[in-house]
């Protein structure tokens, strides 16, 4: 073998050190790039499952884990990145096989399902003595409380608002919406924004994934509907059917949405806006940082959802949780890591980097969140936001996705009327009230 092409041990170490320095330098969003190796040796491992492995989040979470590992000597967090589509099934399989991770990051609508399996660590007693307990907003605690038990840390909270293309509005002479705008104004703006010859549409409606049903439900609420009334499923009410009919007609009748709606999931609506195909879409603050890169911070704003004919409106609260497991091998390590993630610096960096709103008041009041125009639509929605009604029953979490969404798609493409969809959907919800 030609020796010229063989790396010496020293060369190899230099190469590795250079690669590490480059990787650390890449984390420009963090004021102080992590360069030092961790100090702890023989620390007990903590398995942490993270379920949105996008490049930005991956770098962020890896860095958080390294910082935690460096901050103490007892535990070493090892992050397991799992694609979001497989995260739920992997966790449930882990629980069923009695081998769950020590803790994980999941949306609150799955936690009830895990609790139904008797798998979630009850944090109630410990969080009440935790130093930031009172700093976390009560509604954030509500998203992770089931039958009086606090099951997770609400890492971040989200509610929904409307993303609005400000530069295009100026170009087309469309008046910017006021905070108390109505369905009629929403519909008029969507029509004015729609220019099919330019491949531009007014509203990027979501047709795939759980939130396709949730966004539609928010419109039903604006028409006076409710998911549950007196302990019974009431989503098949007249108000719900009328509200849904109006919402679906934006796509079916008025054609103010792109033709891809029935298969547009989260990525579809975010990219549709980012690529200039759509001029409005509904989402939480989680895509605001992405849109700053796509369309530019000055080219969009966020506004609250419009008021419906019933002079009502609702935005659903959700939280991205940190959840520990009862049969975890390192419950203490999991608690220490989860509570550390809720500390000032890690929590601020996580939320600011991803454009998510912190669940702690003292952080949410910082100007980086309170003054940023990209968050205004969400902050102004706080007064009328409620915890998602679909969190009421653990059995609903998976069913909305597996049965509700295909039914909703049938309504979208005209195979079912709004009323027929709601009757079938109410049946699914009633069957799974457990």
């Amino acid at each position: 073998m030609d020796d010229r092409w063989m790396l010496s041990r020293r060369q190899l170490l230099k190469t590795l050190a250079a690669a590490g320095a480059l990787a650390a330098a890449d984390l420009g969003w963090w004021e102080e790039p992590l360069m030092r190796p961790r100090r702890a040796w023989g620390a007990a491992p903590v398995r942490f499952q993270f379920s949105v492995p996008e490049p930005k989040r991956t770098a962020l979470v890896e860095s958080l884990a390294q910082r935690f590992n460096q901050s103490q000597t007892d535990f070493e967090v090892k992050v397991e990145f799992v694609p979001q589509a497989q995260a739920r099934q992997k966790l449930i399989a882990g629980i069923a096989a009695n081998n769950p991770p020590d803790c994980c990051q999941v949306w609150d609508n799955w936690v009830g399902e895990f609790e139904g399996m008797g798998a979630v660590e009850d944090l109630t007693t410990r969080v009440r003595d935790w130093k930031y307990y009172k700093d976390v907003t009560p509604i954030a605690w509500q998203t992770v409380t089931l039958k009086g038990k606090v099951l997770s840390f609400p890492w971040v909270v989200t509610n929904d608002g409307v993303y609005w293309r400000t530069d295009r509005a100026v170009e087309y002479g469309i008046k910017p919406p006021k905070d108390d705008w109505t369905w009629d104004e929403f519909s008029a703006a969507a029509r004015a924004f729609t220019k099919p010859e330019k491949n531009q549409y007014g509203f990027g409606m979501r047709g795939q994934g759980t939130w396709a049903v949730l966004y539609a439900t928010e419109f039903m609420y604006a028409n006076g509907a409710q998911v549950l009334k007196d302990g019974k499923v009431a989503i098949n009410s007249k108000e719900a059917a009328e509200g849904l009919e109006w919402y679906l007609d934006l796509f079916r009748k008025h054609k103010v949405c792109p033709p891809s709606v029935p298969t547009d999931g989260w990525r579809g609506i975010v990219e549709g806006f980012g690529r200039g195909i759509t001029n409005m879409y509904i989402h939480n603050s989680g895509s605001s940082e992405e849109q700053k890169d796509f369309v530019g911070a000055k080219s969009f704003a966020t506004v609250p959802l419009p008021l419906g004919p019933a002079k009502k409106r609702t935005s659903f609260y959700f939280s991205e949780t940190l959840t520990g497991f009862r049969n975890a091998k390192n419950r203490e390590g999991a608690w220490r890591f989860m509570s550390w993630c809720m500390d000032d610096e890690p929590k601020f960096m996580y939320c600011k980097t991803l454009g998510l709103l912190p669940s702690r008041k003292s952080l949410a009041d910082r100007p980086e969140f309170a003054k940023d125009p990209a968050y205004q639509g969400f902050i102004k929605s706080f007064p009328f936001s409620i915890v998602s009604p679909y969190l009421a029953y653990a059995g609903w979490g998976g069913k909305i996705d597996s049965e509700g969404v295909p039914l909703f798609q049938q309504a979208l493409v005209g195979k079912l009327t709004a009323r027929e969809f709601l009757e079938k959907f109410a049946e699914v919800l009633t069957k799974n009230m457990a």
Partner: protein, 311 residues
Amino acid sequence: MARSDASVAVALPRPLLSRRARTLLTGYLYLVPVAACLGGTIVFPILKAMHMSLYNHVLFKPQEYGFVGLGNYRRLLRDETFWLTLWNSFVWVFGSVSLQFVGGFAAALLLHQSFRGRPFVRTVTLLPWIVPGVVVALVWEWLYQPNYGVINDVLLRLGWLRERVAWLSDPGLAMPAVIATNVWRGVPFFAVMLLAGLQAIPDELYEAARVDGARVIQRFRHITLPLLRPIIIVATATRIIWTFNYADLIFVMTSGGPANATQITSTYTLVTAYTNLDFGYAATLSVVLLVIMLVFTILYLRVTRGIESVT
């Protein structure tokens, strides 16, 4: 006294097994590793699936786990989505395979002619078959993308479309669109198989027919088709079985949507197992798929046995 060297012959103890039995046993012992592998990877999972299909086994409802007998099969008979997926499966299989066959046959006939650049065309024809299925699905998903996909863009520029078409979002177009992708991917399979068959037909037969005054269509009908029959049957039957089980293309392109328009039984089984985590019902669907596949396989074996005896 002189010692005698003579010894008395002692009868050997009678072996436990006869020579014939030992020979047979040795033969079977050689088969044990293969049998263990097949048993562990094929027979045991099939039996396990049959066993699971008799239980209510929803992974996130461990407290409801229990024997339900034929309950899952009764549920399947009432399940409208299952019947829809079964119909979709037949449309998917026969739509894909028939068009693949026609395209593959045309390609094979073309590639059988001698022309300049034939090796290049042969290589290009094979490309879709070489690309992994998931990559094919992702590429075609982008080509079909209604807002910024190439297909819409080209058709609009040519003036063949007035407005953008949602190929994969329209329930009426989604199945033809995924079938078209599968046809693109499967044509090379038929092309290669049939080309091999064409090359095995002796030229003398065509020359003799030509001397007798047979025209192109007559030569095709009376020489090419009958002699290609064994290959056509084997290739088609194999392809039908593969396509019936082929879930990844649809799973990546549409996830069975919109509104179950492209949901075939194999993707429905996947969704039931890995999204709904309903392993009992997914096992039931698998058993039914197995029975359907067995019917195809028996037909295939019967037909090919006939071919073997002819050849």
